[in-house]
Symmetry: C2
């Protein structure tokens, strides 16, 4: 099964004004859809970031993979490594530092997922069966709460409404739980003073007793602030996510707070694992196949976490259904996934490049799609519309900070901020 | 593809009197052949240890795996884990301590390999393609030299002749290199005083300049002796393998000798990796899929070694062609395999349960077998003969020490000995 063609299509879909430590989500979220086609006419899907620097690398690597067998992932990785000579950085910095290894892993992942999709279709088995088989039939996801404005400035309010304090956050949680059945809650913090975010967590705990809670300020706090918040929230958090920047700072916090620290910022590529483990900096790794090199490499990392006693959960950026399917297959095959995964799916608000029906939430969990491969099909009309949106929207890279500064000129994304 | 039947067949084949720190190989080597058959009539092969304690666990687990899909390796692992409640120990101790995790991994591996063989056949691809695809077309193996007697006491001399000093070892190396084309040499030590084994390495270095050399005394030396030998062999060894028992002792040696230390004794299961890495005890891990839980789990461990800067080679016990095929597929798919693998193939002296033709050595390397799955077929006549030999030979477990004591009553396998 030789790769004959790879179609790379940037798309844009509407995104609500979600607030975070870097600023606020712009009106459009960007993604890149990868479709790999073999000499036998089978095709497979991958989804990755839409920033132009990354997109241009994806395009360059796509050309270099034509002629490779879909099984030859080591060969693909070597070819991509030879092309990615420099570090491809995100402006928002919300998934930690960029490194050359991470830049390679990010490009490789989209093709690897597409090749697994093809292999599953060729063999007549779901991707989860290429990862060791399912240990769960459905993957639990968490309600991913954001402070947010009612709508983008100058536009209509969106259906989610504003959430700018503890009451707004509880209201948002109620809506998402009612619609999706989530049984875990994550609050994106780093937006308001830590005391306000502590108040929101306490309000969530009171409103949803028994539901595991998490808080993620995206490294907006100093070590001292992180320790104060961690101690103030003893008994209220399943884990505290990236309170402060860097492995040494995280290690200092980890030693003083009662809950495990989770990360998708200080450990984002294999080379970060040895120093983080040696320092005792983290208790939970938030895997993300988009930058950990695809599904098989993520399963290697999951095994490593098991060996070193790290718990596992899963990180999410704004994404579409191809990624949700890939995340679900991977998570369904992870014996040591210890927490519900993150997803931005509710904020996607029904927009998708995959045909309806394959993906659904039942009691906060996504059943592993039936059918071979990823189990999702491209909706070519939707893809065309979203590609037109990409061309028309004028955005070429995610930049939460500059967008925020249009409305709050004094805003700074410096971290730590408090 | 549901497992309908699993045939478990213990076999015995003739083994020369190879000397090691535990004693001497008995006249028969024992193995267990596993054949998994699916509802669609596909069958796959696995090979594992033949000791009765292990064999009985393999039989018990085989019964528990009927009804499982061949993709569902996590489910198989869970079922086997539920059965292996205790630690299954080898008498010889040459592959390090037994643990519950290792006992599970050892049983699981044979079934996992057989299921990969089936999946490869079903998909029409070689097993190497289920492990990321080949990074090499042929896998280099080393000439595995042993001090040995001319023949078993009371029997005829074998064709390999005696090797009881440096000259005999050089002669043996010449024969194996002439027949197989090996380009690396490993000497099994721990048999004679360290000074004699140093002398043998020096003689090999002079006889085969440029060929990488290794020495493996199976933890027969104290820390002090290990350091002396390591320093005496500066510039002569690619690595020094398991000079002394245990992670703390290995770490002491590693800090004082000029070459990396390799192990298949102090790190033999995932739980040993964190302390060994923290202590800096080893530089090279000798993977062995037979006790690291099969091919996919071994690839997880290989990735972990890459992350932590450990080099990789591969360990071998006496084995037949199913294992050689499995080792070759795994090693062909390992980007970070940094050294030629060990194999006992020459000592098998042509005996096999696989049909001739699929496996061959060219310039010391085994080309990845063509054909789907492992690429080897069971020779059912040979299997029947070897099973008869198993029943007739009277051995039920490998016990190099007791056999040695029949001829040298004062022999002790205590380690460290020097």
């Amino acid at each position: 099964m030789i790769i004959r063609q790879i179609h790379v299509t940037p798309v844009a879909f509407r995104d609500p004004p979600l607030l975070n430590a870097a600023g606020v989500h712009e009106p459009w979220a960007l993604r890149t859809i990868v479709e790999v086609v073999t000499d036998e006419g089978l095709s497979g899907l991958g989804e990755t970031y839409g920033d132009l620097g990354h997109l241009s690398k994806v395009r360059e690597c796509a050309a270099a993979l034509v002629g490779v067998d879909v099984h030859a992932t080591h060969e693909m990785y070597a070819r991509i490594s030879a092309i990615i000579g420099d570090v491809v950085t995100d402006m928002h910095g919300l998934t930690g530092v960029a490194t050359q290894e991470k830049s390679i892993d990010r490009v490789f992942a989209a093709f690897e997922v597409a090749c697994l999709d093809i292999r599953g279709k060729a063999y007549g088995v779901p991707v989860v069966d290429l990862l060791g088989g399912r240990v769960r039939d459905a993957v639990p996801y968490s309600a991913y709460l954001f402070y947010k404005w009612a709508g983008h400035p100058g536009g209509e309010p969106d259906r989610f409404g504003a959430a700018l304090d503890a009451a707004g956050i509880v209201e948002q949680a109620s809506m998402l739980i009612k619609e999706y059945g989530f049984a875990s809650i994550k609050l994106k913090g780093g937006v308001f003073a830590p005391s306000e975010e502590v108040e929101a967590i306490i309000a969530l705990r009171e409103a949803f007793p028994g539901l595991p809670l998490r808080l993620d300020p995206n490294a907006a706090w100093t070590v001292e602030t992180s320790i104060q918040v961690g101690q103030a929230l003893e008994g209220s958090l399943q884990y505290l996510e990236d309170p402060t920047p860097g492995i040494p700072g995280m290690a200092e916090v980890a030693a003083e707070v009662p809950m495990p620290l989770a990360t998708n910022m200080c450990v984002v590529t294999p080379e970060h694992l040895p120093p983080a483990i040696a320092a005792g900096a983290i208790g939970v790794l938030l895997l993300d196949h988009h930058y950990w090199g695809g599904l098989v490499r993520s399963s290697h990392i999951a095994a490593l976490c098991d060996t070193f006693g790290l718990e596992l959960s899963m990180h999410s950026n704004s994404h579409l259904g191809i990624s949700l399917a890939a995340m679900t297959h991977l998570a369904a095959a992870m014996p040591n996934l210890t927490h519900a995964c993150d997803t931005h799916t509710p904020w996607q608000n029904g927009q998708d490049v995959v045909a309806p029906g394959a993906l659904r939430f039942i009691d906060g969990a996504v059943p592993v799609p039936d059918g071979p491969g990823l189990g999702v099909e491209l909706d070519r009309d939707a893809l065309a519309v979203m590609h037109e949106q990409y061309l028309a929207c004028g955005l070429t890279a995610r930049d939460d900070t500059t967008y925020m500064q249009r409305f709050e000129p004094a805003f700074s994304a410096r971290r730590p901020r408090w």
